[in-house]
């Protein structure tokens, strides 16, 4: 078993570019989440995920960060600015993404944001992004912990920009972005004028590991911490107060039935075919 690792974009993976675009400024929405490998728990009264401990960069967002870095590299210049909303002034996940090579980060952290739903989050991200007017906003198709997959499109709506979801390939053109959008049957080729919001799927690019140089360079990169007062948003639209979504109850997922083991006694292929027919896959 030889693991596939790549530290350089492979040929064909580097987004190619037609026309001349200078200084491509990309914002990447970066969610910082409780380490999925650790112990996770829900608050018994609000049923919200407990986010008190250290948070990490959501793996889903490492693809957006990598994509943004590659797009800016291929454009020949520009900035990759990270935008994150997280409790307790958490910056660990942002530092990981800065070490990968992002230029700067904006963190919005405010006690009044506790209990935010996806729309509240989108409001906050939109207000932060409006301040620096990037050419393109990248986000993941869905986060690993909440995975409603609704934040980016609400963000696009609030910004008044078009959005393209499920991107499996992203390329820049003159004043536009070309996206191969994954569908059930294959993919659609979509062109969309900039500025726009694009959500990328896992595997769209191979995220780089932060090099030690990148880690040391991240020390001196700008990391702005903003409150909702800085953004001038009405607090009644945010946090638990503004949330239109409430988690009413939580139940354990039904334990999965143990599978059927087919031991090959010369007829395994027939039994597997029979099983697939029974569940109407064949």
């Amino acid at each position: 078993m030889c693991p596939k690792l790549s530290f350089l974009p492979r040929v064909g993976q580097v987004p190619c570019i037609s026309g001349t675009i200078r200084d491509m400024n990309v914002a990447v929405c970066v969610k910082q989440i409780p380490d999925p490998a650790g112990e996770l728990s829900l608050d018994p009264s609000t049923h919200n995920l407990v986010r008190e401990g250290k948070l990490v960069l959501d793996d889903s967002d490492s693809y957006g960060v990598e994509m943004a870095l590659q797009l800016v590299e291929s454009a020949g210049g520009g900035d990759v600015t990270l935008v994150s909303m997280a409790p307790n002034g958490e910056t660990s996940g942002l530092r990981t993404a800065l070490a990968m090579g992002a230029t700067a980060a904006v963190l919005i952290s405010d006690a009044a944001l506790a209990g935010s739903d996806a729309l509240g989050t989108a409001r906050v991200l939109a207000a932060a992004i409006r301040r620096f007017q990037p050419d393109l906003v990248l986000a993941a198709t869905e986060s690993t912990d909440g995975y409603t997959g609704t934040t980016p499109v609400q963000l696009a709506e609030l910004l008044g920009w078009p959005s393209v979801t499920f991107a499996k390939h992203v390329e820049l053109g003159e004043g536009l972005v070309k996206v191969r959008r994954q569908t059930e049957a294959g993919y659609d080729e979509v062109e969309c004028p900039l500025p726009a919001v694009v959500t990328v799927t896992a595997g769209v690019v191979e995220p780089r590991y932060p090099s030690f140089k990148g880690i040391m360079a991240a020390r001196s990169k700008p990391l702005d911490e903003l409150t909702i007062a800085d953004l001038g948003i009405d607090p009644s639209q945010l946090g638990a107060a503004g949330a239109r979504q409430e988690v009413v109850s939580v139940e354990d997922a039904a334990a999965r039935q143990s599978g059927e083991i087919v031991v090959d006694e010369g007829d395994a292929h027939e039994r597997v075919v029979a099983f697939l027919e029974r569940i109407k896959v064949l």
Partner: protein
């Protein structure tokens, strides 16, 4: 006092853990069995700059210290891939070159070592001079403006994957003490006059050990590292990094063992409840965890002392190496025990680490020599040899 890692150290740890997790113990085990190397892992670490974190930035390094290099080493071992050559090439050889090399030597050797493209082996041990380096018999004689090297070294790791070997040789005798005056030489592995024969050992690791026969091997003057005759003192500068790395490999193996054992004890059930609920299983594992964390604490202190030129750096490195080797063996033994019969199965990836964990009690410095050091230097007891 502050026991927290810096944000950069935490990031480094996370990043190395991710890289190493892409390989993991099954990769390591398979490579060891096939007699193959771990080149992909080594290059991945080198490409990201992790093998040179402690070297000066001018020579392709990261400009930090042993605290960072031990983090890299422990993390890779904790993923089930203990890399013995990290102890040799970046920790001993590159440290000695950075410290005693000429500008030319640093420019030649350090950048490729920092990037992982070059590994350098280290040869001090001899059949008749193991723990006692004063008895080294390999001799470098003046020959023209260069040197001629003759002698035998044994148990030299990684000669088959290294580009060069840093050899400790006698260049004279100290007139006052009668002891060997030592010097250091960088020798290309493909030099005429160098033959290496494999020494089979019962360690399931990709690194192999060799006996090196050096027969009138010619060296140009630029191959002398540091000052002629000052080798003993110079080698000493490499010993603390070597001990720190020995400790880091050990604590990495200890973490790997305890993580696996705890996970198994939570899942495995033979009396209707997880075996971890039996105190006979839980307590020894908790004890092993305590010993391991104490060793890790000593390791961070020792690395800090080294990086900050603290006077107790030597004592701390020795104590850390001793404690880590003991804790790691104990943790691995207990992990094997917790796994019952599975503890011996190849699939569970524990028993095959025994050779490496056990080695660290003997090499790079033996338990007894550390006890000698502590008895003499920390307790002021008379030297016994």
């Amino acid at each position: 006092m502050d026991f927290r890692p810096t944000p950069e150290q935490s990031l480094l740890q996370e990043a190395v853990a991710k890289v190493a997790a892409g390989f993991g113990h099954s990769y390591f085990q398979e490579r060891a069995r096939q007699g193959a190397k771990q080149d992909e892992l080594w290059s991945a670490l080198g490409d990201a700059g992790y093998l040179g974190v402690h070297l000066p930035e001018r020579y392709g390094g990261g400009g930090m210290g042993m605290a960072e290099l031990t983090i890299v080493c422990e993390e890779v071992a904790a993923a089930g891939c203990p890399l013995l050559l990290m102890l040799v090439s970046p920790a001993i050889c590159a440290t000695l070159i950075a410290r005693f090399g000429t500008e030319d030597q640093k420019e030649t050797w350090l950048p490729p070592m920092a990037s992982g493209r070059l590994k350098m082996a280290f040869a001090i041990t001899e059949p008749d001079a193991g723990s006692n380096s004063h008895r080294i018999a390999t001799t470098a004689d003046r020959s023209g403006d260069g040197w001629q090297l003759t002698g035998t070294k044994h148990y030299i790791s990684g000669v088959d994957e290294a580009g060069a070997v840093l050899v400790v040789a006698r260049t004279g005798t100290d007139p006052t003490t009668g002891r060997a005056a030592l010097s250091l030489f960088v020798v290309d592995v493909d030099s005429p006059g160098l033959t290496a024969t494999h020494i089979p050992v019962e360690i399931a690791a990709p690194e192999k050990q060799f006996t090196l026969f050096l027969d009138h091997l010619s060296l140009t003057p630029d191959r002398l590292l540091g000052t002629e005759g000052d080798g003993f003192r110079q080698v000493f500068a490499g010993l603390n990094p070597e001990r720190l790395m020995g400790a880091a490999i050990a604590t990495g193996i200890g973490r790997y063992a305890i993580d696996h054992a705890a996970a198994y004890a939570r899942e495995r059930s033979v009396w209707g409840q997880p075996i971890g609920s039996h105190q006979g299983v839980a307590h020894p594992l908790a004890g092993a965890k305590i010993e391991l964390e104490l060793a890790r604490l000593m390791l961070s202190k020792a690395a800090w002392c080294y990086d900050n030129d603290d006077a107790s750096a030597g004592e701390a490195a020795n104590i850390a190496k001793y404690a880590a080797a003991e804790a790691s063996l104990h943790a691995l033994d207990q992990a094997i025990q917790v796994h019952g019969g599975n503890g011996l199965a190849s699939e569970y990836g524990l028993a095959d680490l025994w050779g490496t964990a056990r080695l660290l009690k003997t090499a790079p410095v033996s338990k007894e020599m550390i006890l000698n050091f502590v008895a003499q230097h920390s307790l002021g007891l008379p030297k016994s040899y």
